[in-house]
């Protein structure tokens, strides 16, 4: 992180609202490891789950609701299922608490705008958890693009695919009519955020996916950027892709593994030019790929922004623009059926 973001500030008492898998694996360890966050309260409608995490992380203040939260904390992290983001976010912001909300900020632009309005009304800081922005390799890539170290960007591709194994505590991703369940908004909100952050505005978008009901599990997206660059994105929860980013510049290529630290710079002939170690430049330790440390960076960025009245890494308006892009993508979905699914089965005298 840039050093000015780490200006000393008063630590902030934080509650985590939602005690699912991401809180156990990331948010709680992240706050505890952060410089300026103090984890004091855990909230979950499943009080036993909150108690279990409270015991694990040494937190005695566990609750099954957010009533009166402002009496004991100054800010909160929202980590609840997507479809209740708006309700939880507006409640927390309405109590005058600063909020770091898990991505996606909301399930629609309209939801996001209501959340942003709630933040404005209460005069609190609203940040959105876009963890990839804190990955050192991604920050280095941004510098390479901004400084035109390899010329201008001609094309890029993102592959993000793995067999879904996240130990989520509720099956909301499988529930029909639940907004925010598909891969376009799930993984896509990360990738679309990075696309906007790295390459600017999208001029045109085409999407093919296995569903247009909002629950797509596999999607391929073709982008034309206003810069003229072309982009290709593959998102999947049902196949393991060789995840990472590849960028072709006018004078070379860059390959970035999904959470790796090494950024490979190559000439147009594919020969390696250099392997960059972002941690040296950005003072992020070699285990920057670990979720806890990334979460800690994110928490510190949030607390510093709230304390000093600065813009956090991803504010509400920024996160809303990403959801706007997700909505554009969802509106363009063309359903593609695979031959192994549509091939008929012979049924004798059936």
């Amino acid at each position: 992180m840039a050093s000015q973001e780490m200006a000393p500030v008063e630590p902030m008492r934080l509650a985590i609202v939602g005690c699912g898998a991401i809180t156990e694996a990331g948010h709680a360890p992240g706050v505890i490891a952060s410089r300026y966050g103090r984890l004091t309260t855990l909230v979950d409608i499943d009080i036993e789950r909150a108690r279990a995490l409270g015991k694990k992380f040494g937190i005695s203040d566990v609750r099954d609701n957010t009533r009166g939260l402002a009496e004991s904390v100054d800010g909160a992290i929202g980590a609840v299922p997507h479809h209740v983001h708006e309700a939880v976010a507006t409640d927390i912001l309405g109590q005058g608490l600063h909020l770091l909300m898990e991505k996606p900020l909301g399930c629609s632009v309209a939801e996001c705008e209501r959340i942003v309005s709630a933040s404005r009304r209460s005069g609190t800081t609203l940040a959105t958890a876009m963890l990839r922005r804190f990955v050192a390799a991604n920050r280095m890539v941004r510098r390479i693009i901004e400084d035109q170290m390899l010329g201008t960007v001609e094309s890029f591709s993102f592959d993000e695919g793995q067999l879904f194994s996240w130990p989520i505590k509720t099956p909301f991703l499988l529930q029909p009519n639940y907004p925010g369940r598909g891969v376009l908004i799930g993984n896509g909100s990360h990738i679309f955020d990075l696309v906007r952050w790295l390459f600017g505005d999208v001029a045109d978008i085409a999407v093919s996916a296995d569903s247009d009901n909002g629950g797509e599990s596999d999607a391929t997206i073709d982008l034309k950027m206003t810069s003229g660059a072309r982009g290709a994105i593959r998102l999947s929860r049902i196949r393991a892709l060789d995840s990472g980013i590849r960028i072709r510049f006018s004078r070379g290529e860059v390959h970035v593994p999904p959470f790796g630290d090494d950024v490979k710079l190559m000439g147009l002939d594919g020969r390696p030019i250099a392997v960059a170690k972002p941690e040296a430049e950005f003072d992020v330790s070699t285990n920057s790929a670990q979720m806890r440390d990334l979460m800690a960076l994110q928490v510190d960025n949030f607390v510093v922004a709230a304390r000093l009245g600065r813009r956090p890494e991803v504010d509400g308006a920024d996160a809303t623009d990403t959801i706007r892009l997700v909505e554009r993508a969802a509106a363009k979905v063309r359903v593609t059926r695979m031959p192994w699914s549509t091939r008929g089965v012979h049924l004798p005298a059936a």
Partner: protein, 392 residues
């Protein structure tokens, strides 16, 4: 046979390999009204959700909940089995789960209960052609043993309580999304050489998943009630022939054979020194599995798991190569990956199953030969990124 458009179908195990293909065909080809029992957010469940399939989240051990879920259902396809956790956990899901679903099916007075089992229950039969009259036995493979016990639950419910049940013992099922005969071997072969016992002469009884689905749907016929059917694909396919098809997909040599005795000798008969070789072999097999890597990466214990994984991976590399003897070329750096000890005899067996009874009674007609089925599988495997770059 019932008109499918009017048929209310409940499928357990519908998020798995065979079950998800069955669901596709029931819904998209036959327009049946299908509900699938789902218990976790797996890739298979996500695929079904994307396709708009109705999912029911009743735990398979919740007898009352299942009775509610099956109310008004005409037919049940029961494919679920325990795949995760301890042997006791798996037993609970497979056997107790079958009891619960059978009770619910009886309460709902279903017209068909199609129970999917495995032809592995005939393990130990002498070489030659085997039909449903061969003795079934438990032999130590949890999956097969529990499926056998589940068969008995279904048989008893038919015999004593009138459940209109049939049992389908499927063999060597492969195709898109298939783990045992597609994903797992390809994963091993991308990492090194799969070593087949009995010089690859074991009979694979390969059956393309669509032929299994054909048979299961025929299981709705009245003639199926009270009967057990072995289901296999066309021809007599050896293990080596099946693996050669996968090798051809990859485009480089990835299969070796050895005598069963050789392999058993290398595995060491279950003592601790053998375990020391088996563990690295298993880890080596998993190295290419992105699912494993992703699971480790996403795991709440990633901080602890990663060094352990790396350590095991190193052991996997060195263990295999150092452990190689004359039969397994020491000079080649790629690992030779042996089958798990319990599967050596199973993979060696020259037992060919016959589907003659299903053909005679139900009109089952296997359609997809190995080459065709592997062609279909290949187009999926390419999409699934399973053929990957050549090993280095």
């Amino acid at each position: 046979m019932t008109r499918f458009r009017d048929l209310k179908v409940f499928v357990t195990g519908g998020t798995g390999f065979i079950g998800s293909r069955l669901v596709e065909v029931l819904r998209n080809q036959l327009n049946a009204d299908v509900t699938v029992l789902a218990h976790r957010t797996s890739p298979g469940a996500l695929r079904l959700a994307a396709d708009g399939v109705k999912l029911d989240f009743t735990p398979i051990g919740d007898a009352d909940g299942l009775k509610r879920a099956l109310a008004g259902v005409d037919a049940v396809f029961h494919l679920a089995y325990g795949k995760f956790g301890s042997d006791a956990d798996m037993k609970k899901t497979t056997i107790d789960g079958t009891t619960a679903i059978v009770d619910a099916a009886l309460a709902a007075n279903v017209t068909s209960f199609v129970n999917v089992s495995t032809a592995a229950v005939y393990f130990g039969a002498p070489s030659g052609v085997i039909d449903e009259t061969a003795p079934r036995r438990k032999w130590g493979w949890t999956y097969s043993d529990d499926k056998l016990a589940a068969e008995d639950v279904v048989r008893k419910a038919h015999g004593q309580r009138g459940l209109r049940a049939s049992i389908f013992q499927v063999a060597g099922v492969y195709g898109p999304w298939g783990e045992t005969f597609v994903i797992n071997p390809l994963t091993i072969m991308r990492r090194g050489f799969a070593v087949l016992p009995n010089h690859g002469l074991g009979v694979a009884n390969m059956t393309y998943v669509d032929d299994v689905v054909q048979a299961l749907i025929l299981g709705l016929k009245d003639e199926a009630v009270g009967e057990t059917f072995i289901i296999k694909g066309p021809g007599r396919i050896t293990r080596l022939e099946a693996y050669r098809q996968l090798e051809a997909m990859l485009g480089y040599p990835a299969v070796e054979t050895a005598s069963t005795k050789d392999i058993k000798s290398r595995l060491g008969g279950g003592n601790w020194s053998a375990m020391a070789r088996i563990v690295p072999a298993a880890v080596a097999a998993l190295q290419e599995s992105k699912a494993v890597k992703d699971a480790v990466r996403a795991s709440p214990i990633a901080g602890l798991a990663r060094p352990l994984y790396r350590s095991l991976r190193r052991r996997g590399r060195s263990g295999i190569v150092k452990g190689s003897g004359k039969a397994f070329d020491r000079a080649t750096p790629l690992p030779r990956i042996l089958p798990p000890p319990i599967m050596v005899d199973y993979l060696s067996a020259e037992v060919e199953f016959t589907s003659a009874k299903a053909e005679r009674v139900l009109g089952y007609t296997p359609q997809i030969d190995l080459e065709t089925g592997m062609g279909f599988t290949r187009e999926w495997a390419e999409w699934a990124n399973l053929l990957g770059p050549r090993r280095t």
